[in-house]
Symmetry: C2
Subunit: 552 residues, 2 copies
């Protein structure tokens, strides 16, 4: 006989799902027991559900297929919600199995009883289902997998009552085929080809799955042939970049900068991306960042075939034989002296090995990372797609499990790191090749900036205390050691370089805690000087225009 959990496990494995990130409880014990029936399923324990869901996100970004998560009722799902939000915003496929009480137990309103579906709808609006019988469970999970994998990718949630899991009569179901995405139609192509050839300033904005090599190369042919600008969305799910690939400028996080980048563009062509909007709203500032004088064209929506659409456009504008401009290899020299956030990025750019995975959740501290690694050996960049901090360390866990041969570097802010610090334990347990770099500036720096940006009045001591992490200072190297990860604290650029070299020489996880000064002058907390300082990360033309606009 096959119980529900066993049929579920077989359906997952038959669909090619190989990894289960889990934090189980009593209601999931039959699923846990079924793990040993399937040698093809790897189980990875996280000590907190935010680690589990963030790992599933990072895994799917790099493996291009979903992992399954195993979560314990509504509370387990709640603990994992923020990183599922990031996956949802990044259009990353994740299949959640959320254990629930036995169907007949629900009416007793026991301690852990809650309305799981209402929570699940926040991150799985497209597929959220409660399994109702052991016999149909296999079909439910096959549909959940297919829905997760269908372009553009989504988070699906299947709620699994304990009696459906332990009941006998489970039937494994063969994988369902997702629908084939379509390319842009002729009318759209013609309109966009006309815009590209118009002589007006035009930009192609790439996002989603369109930031991989083939799509980037196609877009770069058009850029080489027609002089259009290539842009990438602000927070890519996964972006291939570095020496040998075309350089693409990302839209800046700060609306003030993004509006400068977009200011004289007359045609903006979207490829698996949306028109840029401000991350937050600010009093008396625009939310929609595209200038009124710019026309927006959608070449490929996220559920369409971006590569086929771009290839058609290449032909339509006669760029088939164009040679895309490729980024030459160029790494910064080794930094020296007192450590700063910029020098940490420089050290990473200086030493980044070939084929690395770079995870950027440094918030204010990694402003210079893009510039410092633009000419580094080819790598993948994963970023904070949904703005819910605590993604980077778990993402690193998942990426390292998807790509065991590739070194992973996770650059993380201190405030951010504390959200899902338990990820370090899983790195140690699984001996993952992850180097976590924590920028310890003892502050929520971005909020110091935002306090000024939202126009809140000059803040007093209580307000400031909500943004400072100085009392007590956190020792991240010690935290790493407490969970079995090699940890070191550095305060000079030379030591930073040495620590990176050491991490590269030894397999398994490492943590480097970089002690750096706070980004903002605490007495002023003004955005303008910070903006001006940040401009070296932008192309010269943009920073020139910006200086003119912002100079007092």
């Amino acid at each position: 006989m096959t119980n529900g959990a066993q049929s579920l496990m077989k359906t997952l494995v038959d669909a090619g799902i190989e990894v289960c990130f889990s934090n189980p409880g009593t209601s999931e014990m039959h699923f846990v027991s079924a793990l040993d029936d399937e040698p093809k399923m790897r189980a990875v324990l996280g000590l907190f559900e935010g680690v589990v869901t963030g790992a599933a996100d990072g895994y799917a970004r790099m493996a291009d297929k979903p992992a399954v998560t195993l979560l314990h009722l509504g509370c387990g799902l709640g603990n994992g919600l923020a990183n599922l939000h990031n996956a949802r915003k990044g259009k990353v496929p994740v299949v959640n199995i959320v254990g629930d009480h036995a169907t007949y137990h629900v009416k007793y309103d026991a301690q852990l009883q809650s309305d799981i579906e209402t929570v699940a709808r926040n991150v799985s609006p497209g597929f959220c289902r409660t399994a109702t019988s052991t016999e149909t469970l296999g079909q439910d999970v096959a549909e959940a997998i297919a829905a997760a994998r269908a372009k553009p990718g989504q988070v699906t949630t299947l709620i699994l009552p304990a009696d459906v899991s332990w009941g006998e009569g489970g039937v494994a179901v063969e994988p369902l085929s997702p629908p084939t995405p379509e390319a842009a139609d002729e009318a759209t192509l013609e309109a966009i080809a006309t815009a590209v050839s118009s002589g007006q300033k035009t930009a192609i904005l790439l996002g989603g799955h369109a930031l991989r090599e083939p799509t980037i190369l196609a877009a770069a042919k058009i850029a080489a042939h027609k002089g259009v600008t290539l842009l990438a969305e602000t927070f890519p799910t996964r972006m291939e970049r570095g020496a040998g690939l075309p350089y693409i400028e990302r839209i800046a996080y700060l609306a003030e900068l993004a509006m400068v980048q977009l200011s004289d563009i007359k045609n903006l062509i979207l490829v698996d991306a949306k028109a840029p909007v401000s991350f937050f709203a600010y009093p008396d500032k625009k939310s929609y960042l595209v200038p009124d004088s710019c026309q927006v064209h959608t070449l490929a929506a996220p559920d369409q075939d971006a590569l086929a659409s771009l290839n058609k456009l290449v032909t339509a504008v006669g760029a088939d034989r164009a040679q895309p401009k490729l980024q030459p290899k160029k790494q910064p020299v080794s930094p020296v002296g007192k450590l700063t956030a910029e020098k940490v990025c420089k050290a990473v750019g200086h030493l980044l090995p070939d084929n690395a995975i770079l995870i950027d959740e440094g918030i204010t501290s990694t402003l210079m990372l893009a510039a410092m690694t633009a000419g580094a050996p080819r790598h993948d960049l994963l970023t904070l797609t949904g703005g819910a901090i605590g993604q980077g360390l778990p993402n690193a866990v998942g990426a390292a499990i998807a790509c065991p041969e590739r070194p992973v570097y996770a650059l993380i802010g201190d405030g951010t790191a504390m959200y899902t610090i338990q990820a370090l334990w899983t790195m140690a347990r699984e001996q993952l090749n992850v180097t976590s770099i924590i920028f310890n500036n003892a502050a929520y720096s971005v909020l110091n900036i935002e306090l000024d940006r939202v126009g809140a009045k000059d803040s007093g001591d209580k307000a400031k205390s909500q943004l400072d992490l100085t009392g007590p200072p956190i020792n991240f190297a010690e935290i790493a050691h407490s969970m079995g990860v090699h940890g070191v604290r550095v305060q000079t650029a030379e030591d930073m370089v040495k620590a990176l070299e050491y991490a590269q020489s030894q397999p398994g996880p490492h943590l480097i805690e970089a002690i750096i000064p706070e980004s903002l002058n605490k007495t002023k907390r003004k955005i303008l000087p910070w903006l001006l300082r940040s401009m070296p990360s932008l192309p010269l033309s943009v920073s020139k225009a910006l200086k003119k606009k912002l100079a007092p």
Copy 2:
């Protein structure tokens, strides 16, 4: 002019709300700025929202009034959901302020945009509202506070769009009066008085707010006069106990034990409690634990006045002059030898000072805590009301802020502690008098037990690996130190006692990591021997009956 945030702050303070537990983001900056306008509002930062909400829960349990939480959009609420679930299940008043994007920004679907209300409904089914204008915000918050405080207490959520917060024209609103709860009516009283006087075996089950001194004393008068048994719910929100108060046996967590406790009771009288049900469902085991032959009577539902109802019953059964039996002072001797979970509980019982607050989230490790502290100096006990682990350390933060003069002891399992370990940082920042005792047995012990209880087949290595925390072992003393908390690791009973004495001699937070053996024999993982070992925690009559039933 008064902006929305300022009117909100004044409405909170006018209603007597004095503490804001916060983890703010950009959309909450005007609220943060308004903190400095209200000297009566204390702001306490948590580095993760699970700390914030768990602290608000612990605070309200001890202060008997709500704190306010400040959370950042749907993801911040998600991160805090599990401890709000615990508060909801414990009927604890909490007022959540969840910042949201400006109303006009929602349509742009920016990174952090999500359906906050769908998440909020999970924990705030009774009051979940999105503020729509600055002018009516004060009224919204006054209603949220009143709803939270109305008996029996609930979690309320007010979603605050950024433009409603920063808009001008805010109006503070005077506190609204919650409705007065009613006592049991005459017909109910008469029926219950008849049952109490029937000579049949009868028990009074106290829960919710009925586990405070006045209610316990009233129930104990009836017990002394009529020979009824006093029982407490399994996981009390707050229970006053110790020397000088009547001893009340708690319903056991394990259904197998609870059914023995309830087996020959013919009348079960509920006072702010529900009829016992199993924590989880198990194949071929009953969910509802009250025997078929037992009649259940509700003297006071959670929204009624439990004390007035009990006092009426005292009079109706003629027990006004009865002398309740009080627990004499009796503390265990100092434990010696190799450390075990039981000896940790013994050391706590041996040294518990007067007027302590005891937080029990030790799961399998604190099975003996009730017995070891029954005759200790009077104290309050807070437990895991909703089953969502990660409550204890944040609860300790809140309890210590509510009662700065009282020592707080938080007994926490290792797996549990890792969920909200960031609470240690807030303990250090606020220099709270909390001694955290972590039982490090390197396992999710309760799941080892549950794997057997749910009838999952003999588990293999992968299943077992999901329940073990051995690789790598976690060093909790080191984690404590990394966040500025004095930490020590102990392996003998003598060192445990010394560490407790040291913690009592020095103000501020301490963490004692108790290295103990795993509860279960790992090769057997059988429930029976564990059950038999656990019986000393039960009254002799119960353990005798149990031995007879369970002996092979």
